[in-house]
Symmetry: C2
Subunit: 186 residues, 2 copies
DNA sequence: GATGCGTCAACGATATATCGCTAATGTTCG
DNA sequence: CGAACATTAGCGATATATCGTTGACGCATC
């Protein structure tokens, strides 16, 4: 069993036992719309993407967060790697001597070493392949936008709605869900 | 202007300038359903909640993340304070001598000091008021659940759908959005 | 009492990092 | 070639922390 965040006296009925609480999460939120694209990138893509971004013309140093954002932008939203994959890979590249960090903590940035420059020049083609990740189609984009607009309206049911209005909204959503199943069944 | 994540040569047309990219964010995601409850808690509530949680029977030490989760659980989802408010407040309480940290980095936990114990015993009533935050009504919960189920179905349009199906789904969502506006207009 | 100003705590965004799980790939064996 | 096994990189969850913005509250003044 994982280490608990809360150290408790083992004989007390304390209020913080995980199993006793409804899993509501953060203030009524629930997962947003998941990203398009494959569930998982091929091995090596995170590494390739980092190197390609650091090797790009005009780029001197980039922080970890910036690398994630750049990948997301260059794939037009098709793929934004998570910190869980980016930071270990950055460290690995440091260990390999291809990149070097400057600054500490929040100010940490990474740049290619000379060795890294030579490596990326020699493997430019391999390091570019991730950027051709399949883009969301126009229909997929439009669907995401529609879902976004729907969520925005739902946001108004937080404060400025009666419970009767909320009940009516829930009915609408349930009907829409059924309609979506029918569409998927085609 | 804020410090840029990417240090670039100022005279190149580099691919990472923020203004040149569509704001797609992480792989097609967009904001989820925002939480119920006031936009902002009254001043002092974060402090009170932290002290109350650390003072609860059976609680010895709690990490920052655990405090956030505990508050969310005890308010039944009505309020989960963000790291931006919890960590500074924890540090402030440390500076005041009411709590003390043990461990470092990911292992950091916080417990009341003796002074903190005396303080919380003396101010128990004040420190309990946040826990009465207004709960989401049953109708609000049901709406959140409906929205969650709808998003789950939408998740299937990521991979297992044609563009024609996506277009049909978008039409459904747009119709639902209009219906929600009508409900709000009542 | 009403208004304006100053302060500061709460928030969302930014940013780093690790952990446990598991999907995916490569290797070995029959 | 197919199946089984081993390895490891990618992912989501966990966890810490800071920064810039701003909402809310208290105080002073009229």
């Amino acid at each position: 069993m994982r280490h608990h965040q809360i150290h408790q006296h083992p004989h007390h009925d304390h209020p913080l036992h995980r199993a006793e609480f409804p899993g509501f999460g953060r203030g009524g939120e629930f997962p947003g719309f998941p990203p398009f694209g494959p569930r998982r990138r091929p091995k090596g893509d995170v590494r390739a993407a980092i190197l390609a971004i650091l090797a790009a013309d005009g780029v001197e140093a980039v922080n970890g967060y910036g690398i994630m954002k750049a990948i997301g932008e260059q794939t037009e939203g098709a793929w934004t790697p998570s910190p869980g994959s980016v930071y270990p890979t950055l460290q690995q590249l440091v260990d390999e001597g291809l990149i070097a960090p400057t600054g500490e903590g929040r100010k940490t940035e990474y740049a290619l070493t000379e060795e890294g420059r030579a490596y990326t020049a020699e493997h430019a083609e391999e390091l570019a392949s991730w950027a051709t990740a399949q883009r969301p189609s126009d229909a997929a984009r439009a669907l995401m936008e529609s879902a976004g607009r729907l969520m925005a309206v739902l946001g108004q049911f937080r404060h400025a709605a009666t419970d009767a209005q909320r009940a009516a909204a829930a009915e609408q959503l349930d009907a829409t869900r059924k309609a979506l199943y029918l569409i998927l069944a085609e």
